[in-house]
Structure formats: structure tokens, C-alpha cells
Amino acid sequence: MGMTVVEKILARASGRASVKAGDVLEPAVDLVMSHENAALVINQFLEIFQGTGQDAKIWDPSKVAIIFDHRVPAESPKTATNQKKVREFVGKHGIAKFHDIRGDLGGICHQILPENGYVRPGAVVVGTDSHTTSHGALGAFAFGIGATEMASVWSLGVALNVEVPATIKVVVKGTLPAMVGPKDIILHLVGLLTAEGANFRVLEFHGDTVRTMSTSGRLVLCNMSVEAGATSGIVPADDETLRYLREEAGVTDALTPVQPDADATYERVIEIDAAKQEPQIACPHTVDNVKPIGAVVGTKVHQIVIGSCTNGRLDDLEVAARILKGKKVAKDVRMLVFPASGRIYAQALLKGYVGDFMQAGAVVMNPGCGPCLGVHEGALGDGETALSTTNRNFKGRMGNPSSEVYLCSPAVAAASALTGTITDPRTVVGGAR
């Protein structure tokens, strides 16, 4: 019987000829990632070794990546002290894939892993962050786990009791209209599936729209797969994956893309006609509360955010800069821009986007998670509304339970910054491609 991409990856990682949905495995792990919550992983890791008579030792430090992004630079002495402890641990255990708070090497974990070539097609990747699903964009099986589970992986090098998830095949066909992009497709899909529609399942993306999409766009699809509850999203690796890894991530060693079998078993197949898509908005307070933009055009917003692991890459900034160049952010709205990494920030500087944003009145912040999860900066006032290219709009997500968050694409965010209300980018000059 044929296998899906994830089944093939798990079979390889578990030393089996074949696996099927529902099998319970202990796959070897190729890459593990943590951010500031490494502080908790370390605590649990040391506890595991207590009473064993063994020295606490990571199974393979070369496979461990730690990236500070959630609260950078530290917003409090508590965070700074956690970061200090992690830094000391990193030094002691020889963890080379460590990205501290730096303008050159720093950034959001889900951008740092791809752009440094850490994620390879066919790999098993786990991270202590739910958006670890992002890395399926490179043809890896990548999923989020908790800190204690990560401590277990650090100790043993395998993920325990992994149940092979069933797979939903998502086929996206056709040409995307102007000002409609990957974010609109994934918001549409999350709305279709609902917030738990893909719980314990994999979303495997196919179709010519995905084949012709850049890795940056594929990262958006896989990143937000978790918002439908998916264990992972995955785009089977192809020429674009290899191009990205060779040309942008500087990978020189052998790569082995994994394809699904033609007779693989899918639980369900969903087809999406890209040509019929419109800009989509996820309305408060759940990500599956998705509406076409027409339903909410004119809604007053107080803060616009462009950035995050979902939409803080160069092509996102380019779309927004093109709309904002030479214009002004409306007087009664704050606009915050967070490039996803130092590398992207530098590229945006060279391309002139940073200047375009600043002259328009936006504030360009340092790379990091920024206001997305309400722990650091860009908090909302009581009764205020944000329009954001981030990935979650749960009650209190941006730090204030009496505020509201709408989610959208970078094009919608930029167009709306000009008016201070939710605005269809197809109606704004510069919005036409």
C-alpha cells in the first residue's frame, strides 16, 4: 500500500519498510528547536537525569537549535535572567546552532531554521512552539511539542509514542488574483476546516498554485496549518525547495526530497480554486472565524502589525512597501513593522522598504515575535482593535483581553494603514500588481 510523505519520513526515521496512520513509533529526530522556553526544557532535562547516576548529556548537541525571539531584547529582569541561564547552558553543552539577540544572526525561530539551511527535506523536526509546522514548507515532517517532551528528546534522541497521523490532501489549483496570496488561501482553508478540523492530522499541499509558489509562501501555508489543529503541514519537496536551500540557505551537501506514493491513502481531499479567492480576514476571537474582506471593510482599527513567523519575510515587506511608498499612514492609526530576521531586515534596508515604511509613518521594530503574543511590546489599549498579519486572534492574544485582533495578509494590512479602517487592497492605487 502506498504511503504519504509523512508516512515515508516516519518509516525511514523509525527503520521500518512501511508505516500507516495509527501506528505508534519512536522516530529518530533530525533537528530540535526551542526559543526562550528552553529555560523550562533545561529544568525538565536536569530533572530527568536526577537519580540516574548519569551526567545530564544531550544526545547530539549538533542537532539542537536555540533561538531567542519571543521577548527580544528582554522586557523584564525575569526574561533576561532566563535568557542568561539558557546562554550558559548553550556554552556548557556546545550548542552551535544558537541564535542570540543579534542584528546579523538573530530573528524568529521559524525564519532562522529555513534561512540557515537547518531544515532538510525528509527530516523529522520537533520544536517547543506550535508553529513548528512551518518547516513542512521544506518537505520535512515538523511538529510542535511541549517542554517536557523536548527534554525527553534531548535525552534519548527519539520522540516517544508518536502516533502516525492521518493525512488530508489539499490541492490548490489556478492563478491567484492580484492582491491575493498564500495568507488568503490558508485563512480560507482554516475557515473551511474549522479550528479543530485537522486535529491530529497532516495537511499535505499539492496543486499548481503551490508548485509555482515560493518557499516563503509555502511557509505561510504550513505555518498556519496548526490553526486548523493540524499536527503538521507539508509541501513535498521539489525544484523550488532545492533552489531555496542551495541559493538562499547556502546548503551544499546532498538533499533527498521525499514524494508521496501515487496510491497513498488520504483521509480526505480538499480542492481550492485559487482564481476564485479574495482577500480573507479572520475576525475575533478565533482563527476560523474567516470572512471575505467585503464583510468587514470599513471596520475601524487602531494598530496595524506587519511581521511574525507567518508574514515577516521579504516578499511580505515588498507588497506592503509598494502600497505605502510615498503615502502616509492615517493619523489615528499606529503601524508596526517587524522583519522576521536580521537578514531580512538588512535586505529590506537595501531595497529601500525600511525607508518607505518610516517615511509613511510606520515604526520599524527589531526582528522578533513582537506584539503577536502580547508579552513584549505593541500592547493594545482597552477597547482597541488591531489588524495584523500574525497568526492568532484569541481573546487577550495581544496582551489585553478587552481588545480585538483581526488577521489578514500584508497587502490588506498596508492598504488599511492608509485609511485607518479595514480596506480592500484591490481598491488602493499601488495595490494593482
Binding site: K78, S130, S152, L156, V375
Partner: protein, 165 residues
């Protein structure tokens, strides 16, 4: 018999269970103070130790959706709450198994604050309304982890076995 002390709807996210602004607090000994921090009256009762161990939080579908933050589990475990919901999100489920927080999945659950529930392995009986609700058992792989005393104990045992060869 356990009383329902908090009733919630569908899609309760980890941001509601343990708001992001408290994420710098990580240790299981320190996280319980921030359980449902933005549901201020319930949080106050928890902190005043007015909620007995074994009390039930009743919820709808997809409880624990969102972030992988393990604090959302350790904060509830710290008060020995039992979560009975129509369904649970994946990472939250796994974190609960790993840390020993009791989750009970009852897809047709109907309960409100103050109801007395009898939570069994096969069914939940709402003694206040007389209604009975079937329980979806945990998959054997997850039950095995719970039986081993949680993931830390299980991993420790595996390490010892490995050392012995």
C-alpha cells in the same frame, strides 16, 4: 463526585488558560498562580485555595488550542483540576499526558457551574441533571505514559535501561 467550578465554551486557547504575559514564569511550582489569570474571579478563588483538588473545569470543543506552552498544563495540574471537555487540541493533550493532568473527553458533554459530576473511565454522569455522557478512552500509547508515571519518569527509566545496555 466532583463539582463543576468553571464552565467554558469551544476553542479555549492556551492564551486564556495561561496568558502570554506570564510566559517568563516557567517552573511548575510557580505557574499555578496565573491559571485563567484574565478570568479574574475564578483566578482569585484558585489563589485563595477555595477550589478543592479534583474539581472539574467543563468545556466545549478544542480545549487547549493554540500555543505549545506547557505552563497551560502545569498551571492546571498545580491545582489538581480535572478537565472534562467535548474535545482537546493535540499539543495540549500530549502535554497533559506528559505531566499527568487528567483530561476526560466526553463529546456530548452538557454541564454548568455547580453541577455534580461522576467522572468514570467509560462515562461521565451529571448527577445534577441525571444525564450520562460517553467517554472517549485515551489511545493505548498515551495511557502507557500515564501508567508509567508521566514522561519524566518514563524517560528516566529508558535512560537507565540504555545505560545497562
Amino acid at each position: 463526585m466532583s463539582a463543576v467550578v468553571l464552565t467554558l465554551g469551544d476553542d479555549v486557547s492556551t492564551d486564556v488558560i495561561y496568558p502570554g504575559r506570564h510566559m517568563a514564569t516557567v517552573l511548575p511550582t510557580e505557574t499555578p498562580q496565573f491559571a485563567f489569570a484574565d478570568i479574574t474571579d475564578f483566578n482569585a478563588k484558585l489563589k485563595a485555595r477555595q477550589v478543592p483538588a479534583g474539581s472539574v473545569v467543563a468545556a466545549g470543543k478544542n480545549f487547549g488550542c493554540g500555543s505549545s506552552r506547557e505552563q497551560a498544563v502545569s498551571t492546571l495540574k498545580g491545582h489538581e483540576l480535572v478537565i472534562v471537555a467535548r474535545s482537546f487540541a493535540r499539543i495540549f493533550t500530549q502535554n497533559s499526558v506528559n505531566l499527568g493532568l487528567k483530561l476526560v473527553e466526553a463529546p456530548d458533554l452538557e454541564a454548568k457551574d455547580g453541577d455534580e459530576l461522576e467522572v468514570g473511565a467509560a462515562e461521565v454522569v451529571n448527577a445534577t441533571t441525571g444525564k450520562r455522557f460517553r467517554v472517549v478512552p485515551l489511545p493505548p500509547a498515551r495511557q502507557a505514559l500515564i501508567d508509567a508515571g508521566g514522561l519524566i519518569a518514563y524517560t528516566r527509566r529508558r535512560l537507565m535501561e540504555k545505560a545497562k545496555g
